[in-house]
């Protein structure tokens, strides 16, 4: 099994467009949209829904006012500033509640219960080049790292069932828990960056997180001609860090046109420079793997 995670640190560098192009170059691949907070690949692949699962994203505390005596004990215990007294009533701030259960355990009146957040879902289905697994975190819910783990488990199971040996993981932006869940145990991490000051700064943080988990990342510089000096600087930075630059892609409006048409760039404009570069990178990734 070859698992490739595509991440970026900074958002909007082209992770999803590039992962989608990879997925459409393969045959019988499994693609997992791990950006459960802003899932987009379904727009290009329009997958069927073959399995639907409920994901419980932690719990929230709820007060039963027929029991609450407003003793205020819980307000002192909560470390997330989620419980306060307002106008003679104990109030829980749902946004700050972390779902730790402590208030419900210490309440002498048993007036606090914990309600599961069960609005998030994850799915598996088929698309034109194989199978797709994706999660949808309900707005405002947390623990998306756990949902990413479930998406990956389902992707692994799906790959086994359909005899696929390639899983492409489209990761979320940032470097937090969902990103860590996306890269843990994969074979390769690709970081997609762009030639901006922010792009370079976030590339550094994304590379750090990969290295911390024992993975040597490689890099794609996307939209490189928007600032060629900055592209050079990124390539130089990668050289100093011993990080392979897999490819340098030009900016091309056709990538957005393809998205509007519900196609990947390699499907929509296979002979464009971007597509040719992406195919080269894809072949290269496979060659590296088959030598191991």
């Amino acid at each position: 099994m070859n698992q490739i995670a595509v991440i970026s640190g900074k958002g909007g560098t082209g992770k999803s467009s590039i992962s989608a192009a990879f997925a459409s170059l393969g045959t019988n691949v499994v693609v997992a949209d791990c950006d459960v907070d802003a899932a987009n690949l379904y727009l290009l692949f329009d997958p069927s829904v073959e399995e639907e699962h409920v994901y419980v994203a932690g719990h929230k505390a709820v007060i039963d006012y027929t029991r609450c005596t407003t003793c205020g004990l819980c307000t002192g215990y909560c470390r997330f500033d989620a419980i306060s007294e307002k106008d003679g009533r104990i109030v829980i701030n749902e946004i700050s509640c972390d779902g730790c259960f402590l208030c419900s355990r210490i309440c002498p009146e048993k007036a606090i219960s914990m309600v599961p957040n069960d609005k998030s879902r994850y799915y598996s289905g088929s698309f034109r080049n194989g199978k797709m697994v994706y999660g949808r975190l309900a707005p405002g819910e947390e623990n998306s790292g756990k949902l990413v783990n479930l998406v990956r488990e389902l992707a692994g199971k799906t790959a086994e069932e359909c005899g696929s040996d390639t899983i492409i993981l489209d990761g979320p932006p940032g470097i937090g828990c969902p990103v860590i869940s996306t890269i843990t145990g994969v074979d390769q991490v690709l970081i997609v960056t762009e030639p901006t000051m922010s792009g370079l700064s976030d590339l550094g943080r994304a590379a750090d997180i990969a290295l911390r988990f024992g993975l040597t990342p490689s890099v794609i510089v996307n939209k490189s001609d928007l600032n060629t000096d900055m592209t050079e600087e990124i390539v130089k930075w990668c050289g100093e860090k011993n990080i392979t630059v897999q490819g340098i892609l030009p900016f091309d409006r056709k990538v957005v046109e393809a998205m509007v048409m519900g196609r990947t760039i390699t499907e929509y404009e296979p002979e464009s420079r971007v597509s040719i570069e992406i195919k080269k990178i894809w072949n290269n990734i496979f060659k590296v793997k088959s030598h191991e």
Partner: protein
């Protein structure tokens, strides 16, 4: 003080671009403003201002330390932990804290009747103040690499912003999950920056639905206008969402940003547009 959060579902649509330019336009116009970079996983705002860090404080939380001499391996702390951060094998007398999973809630300390659990602070990140120009202070939330959640650092940065300026601009993290919610929850108005592409629209819908369910007023800026298709305008009209500004896709703008410069400095017509944006937002806040 009014708080304006600049957010987007999709990453990379231009949140930081809008937040930094709006901030510059305001401070150049002698409006007492401060900028809070709440994108603690990828903080980039401070780098756009020629500024130096004047203050920095660690954000920590308390994680348990278990004294195995006092521990009876009863397992109650493990049972109290909602995050699977305590690993216990009673027959082998093994108990371990997995610090990366700990949220610092203190439930295990409360659970232990034998005094075996004490606590120590562990660093999650920093909140820094860049205040060499007191007319334009920048506060930055920065999560440490390897930490799971940026939320405690974001909370600490927003707390720090409680001082007597007229307006605080909050540069939000992307998405609609808890880091976003934590940032926008205290805002009087949210500016959603999007791009007119299918990905942009899909993520914008989710942001709009979330903010509506929270009862927070919002408006939209379309960045890179001219790319993609016209669906975005239809969506805004159908849902009566104010279109605050359109910024065309323009290689000059992209280049200015990529070099770490501010469009409000290099093109004064944009300084005026960002000042007008603030006037418009103020009117919308008064109306809501």
């Amino acid at each position: 003080m009014i708080k304006i959060a600049v957010a987007s579902g999709k990453g990379g649509t231009g949140k930081t671009f809008v937040a930094t330019n709006l901030f510059r336009a305001l401070t150049e116009n002698n409006t007492a403003a401060l900028l809070v970079d709440c994108d603690a996983e990828a903080p980039n705002a401070a780098a756009f201002f020629n500024t130096v860090r004047t203050e920095s404080a660690d954000v920590t939380h308390l994680v348990p330390v278990i004294d195995t001499e006092l521990c009876t391996f009863c397992g109650k702390c493990h049972e109290y932990c909602s995050y699977n951060a305590i690993f216990i094998l009673p027959p082998a007398k093994v108990i371990k804290v997995i610090e990366d999973l700990c949220h610092g809630c203190g439930a295990c300390t409360e659970a232990c009747s034998f005094g075996a659990v004490t606590e120590k602070p562990v660093r999650l990140g920093t909140v820094s103040v860049y205040n060499n120009n007191p007319m334009a202070p920048v506060i930055e939330a920065r999560m440490d690499v390897g930490v799971m959640s940026p939320v405690p650092v974001i909370k600490a940065a927003i707390k720090k912003a409680r001082n007597g300026k007229e307006v605080a601009i909050l540069d939000s993290p992307p998405g609609t999950s808890c880091p976003f919610i934590q940032t926008v929850a205290t805002a009087d108005f949210v500016v959603l920056v999007t791009e007119p592409t299918p990905f942009g629209l899909s993520d914008l819908r989710q942001s709009v639905d979330t903010l509506r369910s929270m009862g927070i007023a919002s408006g939209v800026i379309i960045n890179r206008a001219g790319l993609g298709n016209g669906r975005m305008h239809d969506y805004l009209k159908e849902n009566s969402i104010p279109l605050l500004m359109e910024i065309p896709f323009d290689e000059t703008i992209a280049r200015v940003y990529s070099e770490g410069k501010l469009l409000a400095d290099t093109d004064h017509s944009y300084r005026k547009r960002f000042t007008d944006l603030y006037t418009r937002i103020n009117a919308l806040i008064r109306k809501s």
